[in-house]
């Protein structure tokens, strides 16, 4: 077997599913790997992954479940679109989303048990405290120049938050757009 398992995720202890994974960029051989499928979380199946190192060229290859595209419910897509204010409901858009999720799944390879999460690379830095003295401001003219629309030194925005049209209405709007 040309593949050497160097890091085993705990999920692999009890394999449930078997998949044929096409070889990485260095090899044309295929490999059979037993993967475990975890409980589906919401719309996505969180598949555990591992890194396999080729015994021929010693380069690591990511192995991720190839169970097929995740079924992302329309409601969740709708919610994501509202949160990000980005329309991505096309086949291309959804495919891109799925690839992004798969890419992020690589994080599961690392065994983080017993390790405190790092949420900032600045965690060892001292937070600088500024003294309470006025050092800036008084540049309204400069700032207002950046805005297309101003009224007497105010920035102008549309009224309140314009609620996003409902899903069906948006589909109708997009129907004739190039997207």
């Amino acid at each position: 077997m040309p593949w050497l398992v160097t890091e085993k995720h705990p999920a692999f202890v009890e394999p449930v599913d078997e998949r044929r994974i096409p070889g990485g960029p260095h090899h044309s051989c295929s490999v059979s790997v037993q993967l475990r499928t975890t409980q589906p979380k919401g719309a996505f199946e969180v598949i555990e992954c591992c890194v396999l190192v080729c015994s021929l060229c010693a380069s690591p290859h990511m192995v991720v479940s190839a169970t097929g595209p995740a079924q992302i419910p329309a409601d969740l897509v709708d919610k994501l679109e509202r949160l990000a204010l980005v329309d991505f409901r096309t086949k291309q858009g959804l495919g891109c989303l799925e690839k992004a999720i798969r890419f992020a799944d690589q994080l599961h390879v690392v065994d983080t048990s017993g390790i405190e999460p790092m949420d900032s690379v600045l965690e060892d830095r001292a937070l600088y405290l500024r003294s309470d003295a006025v050092t800036e401001g008084d540049c309204a003219e400069e700032l207002l120049q950046l805005s297309k629309n101003t009224v007497e030194e105010y920035f102008v925005a549309p009224p309140g938050n314009i609620p996003l049209p409902k899903r069906e209405e948006r589909a109708a709007i997009l129907k004739h757009s190039e997207f």
Partner: protein
């Protein structure tokens, strides 16, 4: 439970309070016995010269966007720089509210879209705020005469430092919103979270009530919302988890149109700010650290002023005044100092002085919307007046008259006014005797009544004597003389 968030808005301090109201049920047939549970989120602006994360000035009523830096305008490439004064203010608040201060606290981003939030997120402290688990003990006056001191406590969940948004002016006519990034309005804002449940059972679904613009409306808004939720449940309906706005005109809460279901703020750590460390005492400072880069809790604790509750108790203890008076004294800026200054200059008992301060002085101040520092009657002047009354030179009713006069002609002393207007007590016995005799002679019926045992009629005769003397007769003497003459 009280949860406090300290919010710095284009620098503000925000306090979130959650308070349990176990109120009686207002509806008669209520087998569910529902009670309201209330959480308050209080946003209080920190008193600092500059903003939380930028060196722009904090000031009111400046031209729009004149106090805005590049960071406040969310221009790319700008970074937040924490204001030390705001950290000190947060620690001070935490100490005053008996919180546990987190030695290490973290900053997060809370994302949502609104025109007055140009960055698309606000920097807050959601995961690990600067202080947690406090308690506020407060007293209120209750009982039938509202003179019983009732002590209550409220738990404080947390205090956090937080940015606030700019100010939006809605122009419905032109269908646009004008944005001023100087600061949001209101030095103190409160949002209420309200739910109802049967005691002993899990908490019900809560709603958030916004747009409450005064403490008076706060109580009304909460009461309305509790009743509304009770009615919904009694009808067999379900309370929606939503945000509602309080409408002061109708006294009702109405759903806010912009909110679509539960908001997902996608909290994430603020990548541009390392953790905030505060040190317990000087001994725990790392070697070589610059003093202006360290916030030391012990130093701040030592600098805390006397807290209101402590002050009130001290006043009651020291001067023997009633608790309700202590409330009045402490609630008015400068009144305690005024009271104590008067006591220094007079031998009169505090319990006799307090009435003058809380009624006469405060009454006049309130009428003209003045502060204690603007009082035309100074503590020594009032003390002089009280001394004159105490020593019998003038009667109590005349004293009040003189006070009015002193107020009107600020600067004029009591003795001067008494002299000018001849308000001194008439103690000339001969004169009093003759006046009393006149009254007795002209009211034979009343004299008979007194002789027959109705002593109260004496007061009428006294009143007549006072009328003759324009209130300047020494009441003690008059009573004596009249009693003698009618015996």
């Amino acid at each position: 439970h009280l949860v406090m968030c300290l919010n710095q808005c284009i620098n503000k301090a925000r306090y979130k309070l959650i308070r349990v109201f176990k109120g009686p049920c207002h509806l008669e047939d209520d087998p569910m016995q529902l009670v309201g549970v209330v959480g308050l989120e209080i946003h209080a602006q920190i008193n600092s010269k500059t903003k939380l994360f930028s060196g722009s000035q904090v000031r009111f009523s400046d031209p729009p966007n004149s106090l805005v830096s590049f960071f406040d305008g969310s221009l790319p490439g700008t970074l937040p720089v924490l204001n030390r004064r705001c950290v000190e203010a947060a620690v001070m608040t935490a100490l005053a509210l008996n919180c546990t201060i987190n030695r290490k606290s973290l900053f997060d981003r809370k994302h949502y879209f609104y025109a007055d939030l140009p960055a698309g997120y606000q920097i807050t402290q959601q995961r690990r705020p600067i202080a947690v688990d406090g308690i506020l003990t407060y007293s209120l006056l209750g009982g039938k005469k509202r003179n019983q001191v009732i002590r209550k406590t409220a738990n404080i969940t947390q205090i956090q430092l937080e940015q606030d948004s700019g100010k939006s002016l809605h122009d419905d006519v032109r269908s646009q919103t004008l944005i001023d990034l100087n600061r949001a309005e209101g030095q103190l804002r409160v949002d209420a979270n309200v739910s109802v449940h049967t005691p002993g059972e899990p908490l019900g679904t809560r709603t958030e009530v916004k747009n409450i613009n005064s403490t008076r409306y706060l109580a009304r808004a909460i009461d309305y919302e509790i009743q509304r939720q009770i009615k919904v449940l009694q009808r067999g309906g379900k309370v929606q988890n939503e945000t509602r706005a309080y409408d002061s005109k109708s006294g009702e809460t109405i759903p806010m149109r912009d909110k679509e279901g539960l908001q997902d703020y996608r909290f994430m750590p603020e990548p541009n700010l390392p953790p905030l460390i505060v040190y317990e005492e000087n001994a725990s400072l790392p070697t070589g650290i610059d003093a202006c880069q360290a916030v030391v809790v012990q130093q701040i604790r030592e600098g805390l002023p006397e807290l209101p509750g402590v002050k009130r108790d001290r006043l009651v203890q020291t001067y023997g005044i009633l608790p309700e008076h202590s409330f009045t004294l402490v609630n008015e800026d400068g009144l305690v100092e005024y009271f104590e200054a008067v006591l220094k200059a007079t031998k009169k008992e505090p319990r006799k002085v307090i009435g003058w301060v809380t009624n006469e002085l405060l009454g006049h101040l309130k009428q003209q919307d003045m502060s204690v520092s603007q009082s035309p009657v100074s503590p020594p002047a009032l003390a002089e007046l009280l001394e004159l009354q105490e020593s019998g030179h003038i009667s109590s009713s005349v004293a009040k008259q003189v006070f009015q006069e002193m107020w009107r002609s600020s600067g004029s002393t009591a003795s001067k006014i008494i002299q000018e207007q001849d308000l001194g007590l008439v103690s000339d016995t001969a004169q009093l005797h003759s006046i009393c005799q006149k009254v007795v002679d002209s009211h034979p019926d009343e004299v008979d009544a007194i002789r027959n045992g109705n002593k109260k009629v004496l007061n009428k005769l006294m009143g007549l004597v006072q009328k003759e003397t324009k209130g300047r007769a020494d009441p003690v003497l008059v009573r004596e003389i009249l009693q003698e003459k009618t015996s």
